[in-house]
Symmetry: C2
Subunit: 369 residues, 2 copies
Amino acid sequence: MALIYSARIASAAATFTTNKVKAAPVWRAMKNIRSGKARAIVVNAGNANACTGWQGMRDADEMSRLTAVALDVPDKYVYSSSTGVIGVKMPMDRVAKGVKDMTSSLGSAGIKDAARAIMTTDTFPKYVARKVKVGSAEGVIAGFAKGAGMIAPNMATMLCFLMTDIAVEPRALKAALRDAVERSFNRVTIDGDRSTNDTALIMANGAIGNKPIGVGSSRYKTFAHALEEVTYELSKMIASDGEGATKLIEVEVKGASSVAEAKRGALRVANSMLVKTAIYGNDPNWGRIMAAIGSSGIEVKEEKTDVFLGGVGVFLRGHVTGAENEARRKLKKKEVKITIDLHLGRGKATVLTCDLTEGYIKENAEYTS
Amino acid sequence: MALIYSARIASAAATFTTNKVKAAPVWRAMKNIRSGKARAIVVNAGNANACTGWQGMRDADEMSRLTAVALDVPDKYVYSSSTGVIGVKMPMDRVAKGVKDMTSSLGSAGIKDAARAIMTTDTFPKYVARKVKVGSAEGVIAGFAKGAGMIAPNMATMLCFLMTDIAVEPRALKAALRDAVERSFNRVTIDGDRSTNDTALIMANGAIGNKPIGVGSSRYKTFAHALEEVTYELSKMIASDGEGATKLIEVEVKGASSVAEAKRGALRVANSMLVKTAIYGNDPNWGRIMAAIGSSGIEVKEEKTDVFLGGVGVFLRGHVTGAENEARRKLKKKEVKITIDLHLGRGKATVLTCDLTEGYIKENAEYTS
């Protein structure tokens, strides 16, 4: 379990899974976040508290209530978040003990410990911190996340908690988070599955004493940009740590008729099991990439299309170049870039994913329900 | 290679891949099928003749022309079809030799040989024949297919050739094929990838001498029903022989708001890598099924939903039943049925798929481009 506590009341904003089946703590947080305020976030890993009916709702309430009482803050400003197996009742005695332990030792753990505490099938803790100048003062945006499986656009089994000591108005915080998530977590896909629990939550408590940043100010731009850098860094960590992954794959589609078409095409390629297994096998199989983009439903003209693997053009304006061996060498790296230029317009989008390996199968065939 | 030859001119109809990137023989056949007539189909496995530009178009023409000349029939009534690796020039000398060998030994091979000849990563030949009464006469509908990888709705790397000695008007043949494909091949998904080459082609040469069947007649219904049974049988073979598959999975969604919603939900579940790996591992992980259906975008109310695994209710009206162990036993069979009842309407659809195993990864990481 992990606990984030702000010594002062913080502005807060969040984005949640678009899955119609949502975990109990997600329903609760969606309601409470409307206040735009937070004091604490309490997180558990191992049990998702999803598909648990009314009992699950009561347990999510209780997890927040116990934390609120121990911290002496209002219930409604304490968010709870869960990740793990679906459909199993929360072990509330263990939750109560965890809350007691954490609230009685506040300040004894850092962001790395928190990142480690919420890991499920992640192989390394994911956290980032970045300094941001706000006039003459300096603040920090820090965040930690978990990812691994069931990741698909629109935030799938992905939890991310962000904190900053910069003061930001709730409306500005909401806008900055929404944009940052759209350009980072919503462009990560591991297996096309979307979870019931995805949450990205940010608290901004203004401890550095700046005048709260509002939408449209020049400081807003600086803040929003830094936040996006933090979420993008976390997204790359999540993609590279997909279950069983050996490689990070960046799929860029450009020259599409629109940004929406570019994103749709890139997602289709990034979700193609055939493309992902080919990259795993260091196979410059651009035919599968063409088949995937062609089946995405976006406008594609074979005779205008370029495909690059690690910057090497393997298919240019509809013609094979014969550079497969050069491309194969690029595929052996830990980070592989696939670029598809459709030469139809100015739409551009990048999606992050990982290769598909036997490791994914093993992990998910054995991860017990 | 395989060759299907009709001693008399036959009515013909076909459906093709919806992928924007189509193989050369597909473009050619799409144009020629408008005549509603055919004499022969020539097929090769190993090379898809896709993403091969103008050279590919010339090669597809040449493959048909060589066959037409040898059989002494018009060019335009000879269809060619290819499957295999994308982006490699057709080895036309080998094609010419194959055509020569086949046309000089007509009638020496049966449907099983043809089914075997077009296999790529298929592990067994797929063919079906069924007798159909037409008034006092009796005809046969026979078909063979290949599948295995890159299968997704709308006919992905799926070739299917159907023949009948019953006379059917071209318009009726087209309608019957379209409906049969919609209810069979278009509901098979192996990995969500759609191929550049998918083709289902039927020839009806009327050798039994019946009056050609037209749309709307009672004989049309009998014929269309039998055709659908043939394509459904072939679909089941394709699904159970998905690359690396150990099990056939039938996903039925019922009680959806509409048939379209039911199909969309069933496809999402059937394409979920997490669901497919769970079934492989005999894991009654209905939580992944709920997460998948919830992320399909269709209307779902958790508290109304039932999930059955092999007929065992594991989640009923939003409540865990605790029947996991009983369900686990059902999952150990070679054919597994997942049923999701949304209790929202009367929409119903079934989709066929297979489990996802290390075998799929191995095969596709090593299948060279």
